[in-house]
Subunit: 144 residues, 2 copies
């Protein structure tokens, strides 16, 4: 076990993403199975994905959500589905500043920041420690 390093703390888990072929099917099946509700549904043309957020009924915004991640064109998510099928894709952690979060996580450079779901600045780590695809997101939408 290692001591906690206060310079390296990211926040809680914002969402857990599931790659799916058809978000409408997944909304129907997963929301019914879990009793979760849709609290966001958007297409982001720039990165070619539809993002649907599912949350437990109570305490939305406080809790970790599920994100359904459907590709709207060819690209990394479509390739992932082709290679692996549907399933868990990544975990997204909160940070107050994506660039600082990337540095805290040991990234050698802080490129690759994009505008993701809910108007927030996001980035993925360039490595996958222990097979874990890690996204960082700011808590608040980007003020343009």
């Amino acid at each position: 076990m290692i001591e906690n390093d206060s310079n390296g703390v990211l926040g809680g888990i914002d969402h857990v993403a599931i790659a799916v072929h058809d978000a409408d099917d997944a909304i129907h099946n997963l929301a019914r199975t879990l009793g979760y509700t849709v609290c966001g549904d958007e297409i982001i043309d720039e990165i070619g994905v539809r993002l649907v957020y599912l949350s437990a009924g109570e305490g939305q915004g406080q809790r970790t959500m599920l994100q359904l991640l459907q590709p709207t064109r060819s690209g990394p998510v479509a390739e992932y589905l082709s290679d692996h099928g549907e399933g868990l894709h990544h975990v997204c952690f909160l940070t107050d500043d994506v660039e600082r979060g990337l540095l805290r996580a040991g990234e050698p450079n802080v490129g690759g920041v994009f505008l993701g779901g809910r108007g927030r600045r996001c980035a993925f780590l360039s490595t996958q420690p222990h097979g874990l695809r890690v996204e960082l997101t700011e808590e608040l939408p980007w003020a343009r």
Copy 2:
């Protein structure tokens, strides 16, 4: 989108599990990358796993945790690692009663309940909707 069915609501996400070969390596790498701290570490001989819980520094117990899932002998987790390598394994949802949670999630029967991490009663769904391996856990340890 479907209406929320109050009979089908499970609680928030208790933890997200990552299958790993060596939890000590993963503690070192992931805790350092994320700045998370170890808030639980136990071996459950009955199911042949070591479970390590990692949490953001603040608000432990309120937030969704990461669970490192290391097999201590041959079995399903060792097979998963052999087939898929390390990575995201399952998501565990809170329920006040595992059997009721299984019924709510549409399970035709309510078998397979076991005593999992932190002395809690747990069960996995028999299906994996959209590739998602779903565990349910009660919020409180089991009173024997």
